[in-house]
Amino acid sequence: MSMNSVIEIENLTKKFDGLVAVNHITLEVMEGEIFGFLGPNGAGKTTAVKMLCTILNPTAGSAKVCGYDIVRQRDKVRECIGIVFQDRAIDTFLTGKENLDFHARMYHLDRKTRQKRIVEMLDLMDLTGKENMRISDCSGGTQRRFEVARGFLNHPKVLFLDEPTLGLDVQARRNLWDYINLLNEQEGITIILTTHYMEEADYLCHRVAIIDQGHIVAMDTPEKLKRAVGLNLISLQLAQDSSGSLIDSLKQLSWIKKIEARDGSFEISIDGGEERIPEFIDFADNRGLVISSIKLYKPSLEDTFLHYTGKTIREEEGSLKELWKAWMRRSEGKR
């Protein structure tokens, strides 16, 4: 293989008395990839990332980040990663620039590099002009961008983003996605992110691991994951009723897999995507049929999640929240 792996995980496991949060996960992440852990709250994705960031020690199994063992070479790992935590971890009394400067010094960057990198990151994340505002006066989206800028300040090889857009409004979320993409493209950095937003995983990630109750249930590109669930669907309505002739002639086409007629409208399973629509219209034209509406449905990652776990991500969240609460009660009782 020509690509180098940046992260190698083998049978990584974490137990919190009785509860197995991460259950023997094994995977590899390649250099330059945006890799996503997708799953509901409590599925174990944050725990997995925390172990990779050396915040938690694994119960069993091992992992290497940038070639360094996450337990035995903790400080080496810390030097080559950047982290954006799920909860805010930025000093709100200081300005954005002071926070960046603090981080750069803690990572032993010399004065010249510090100044250069801070200007670069402010520019890249579009924060120039806001750097002297106190963090407590910045909007949630801006605070988050400062955190991403900070995580990337020390030139990490891998950037961990734990639920980067949690609590942001739609626009701020879109914005942040673009910045994350930019980081990945311009600086060639490997990005590991966790999310429970389908769109986020779909939009950003080159590969996604669907994680449920500590297990990885599926792992592939978003495209392939979606395709595995089922074929794309064309929904169609004709101007005049001539269903019989259409169905017969459609059956000649090799990429049409299944046709269902429902009083005047058709649902047609196809092998392929948008490129089939013009073909389809041509085909109907040649037979003198007028299409009044046509629409292409693709399975979403939501369907994929449903397919692999038997639950939608929202149902899952509800029940896991209950589980989590019960667990918290138990552990509090013990204290």
Partner: protein, 264 residues
């Protein structure tokens, strides 16, 4: 298998960075600066001045100096106690607001982190204490000598370091703010009231005197009183000895607990 790699224990840049952050935070929150000076000011103005008008000639320990002179070092000691414990315990705030994680995952030895942080807290505490000395002098307190004043600063550093260590121990063992507040009231006020800050040890019944003897702040305040206004209960070497031992023990224990703290 290789042992866990450890960074330099004394790492100057991060130490300075942590110190700088404490200073910036202190100067930025004006309300906190003013607030931290108000209570000692009230004690001096509303307790010290009126009490100094009362006849105190008969009370052992107060015969020669008058109450305001007696009280001033006690209030300086109180400032160091509160500011020191707060400096150590403010780790809880960092934990609560998430900033601690950012610090703990940096490739820096934990001892350097806590050393820089504590030095910052101590600097602000000693600045406050010096301001109180200034206020006291303005109210008419007479300082004994210039050389004594330099010894005062050394005692301030020792007292402050000891209580910063104590605050740190509390912070690493407690996980929430509520528990901290309760413990503050339970611990800090008895330490303050039973330290000889407000009344002379000699005039107390013997059982209470023994309680005051085991209170570390007693020696800090006695040392401050000896060096600042020239009246003391114990010999100065004893104050120094107790403070140094205490300071080393509490600071070591505090930084040890901090280094074992989980980042998550």
């Amino acid at each position: 298998m290789r042992a866990i790699e450890v960074h330099r224990i004394i790492d100057p840049l991060p130490i300075y960075t942590m110190w700088l952050r404490e200073m910036k935070r202190f100067l930025r929150v004006r309300a906190r600066v003013v607030g931290s000076l108000l209570m000692p000011l009230f004690f001096l103005a509303f307790l010290g001045l009126p009490m100094s008008l009362m006849p105190a000639r008969q009370i052992p320990g107060l015969e020669d100096i008058g109450y305001l002179n007696f009280l001033a070092p006690g209030i300086v000691g109180m400032t160091l106690l509160f500011a020191g414990i707060m400096s150590g315990a403010s780790v809880i705030w960092d934990k609560e607001f998430g900033f601690l994680k950012e610090v703990l995952v940096a490739p820096v030895n934990r001892f350097s982190v806590i050393l820089g942080r504590s030095l910052g807290g101590m600097t602000t505490a000693i600045i406050q204490a010096l301001i109180i000395v200034g206020i006291a002098v303005a109210m008419g307190v007479k300082l004994s000598s210039v050389s004594g004043f330099f010894l005062t600063i050394i005692i301030m550093i020792l007292t402050c370091a000891a209580f910063t260590g104590l605050g740190l121990i509390i912070a690493t063992k407690l996980s929430n703010l509520e528990g901290f507040m309760a413990l503050m009231n339970l611990l800090v006020f008895p330490i303050f009231f039973l330290s000889g800050a407000l009344f002379p040890i000699q005039s107390m019944p013997s059982w209470l005197r023994y309680v005051m003897y085991i209170n570390p702040l007693t020696y800090g305040i006695d040392g401050l009183r000896g060096t600042l206004v020239g009246v003391a209960t114990f010999p100065l070497w004893l104050d120094f000895a107790v403070l140094i031992i205490l300071c080393v023990a509490l600071a070591t224990l505090g930084s040890y607990f901090f280094s074992k703290m989980e980042a998550a």
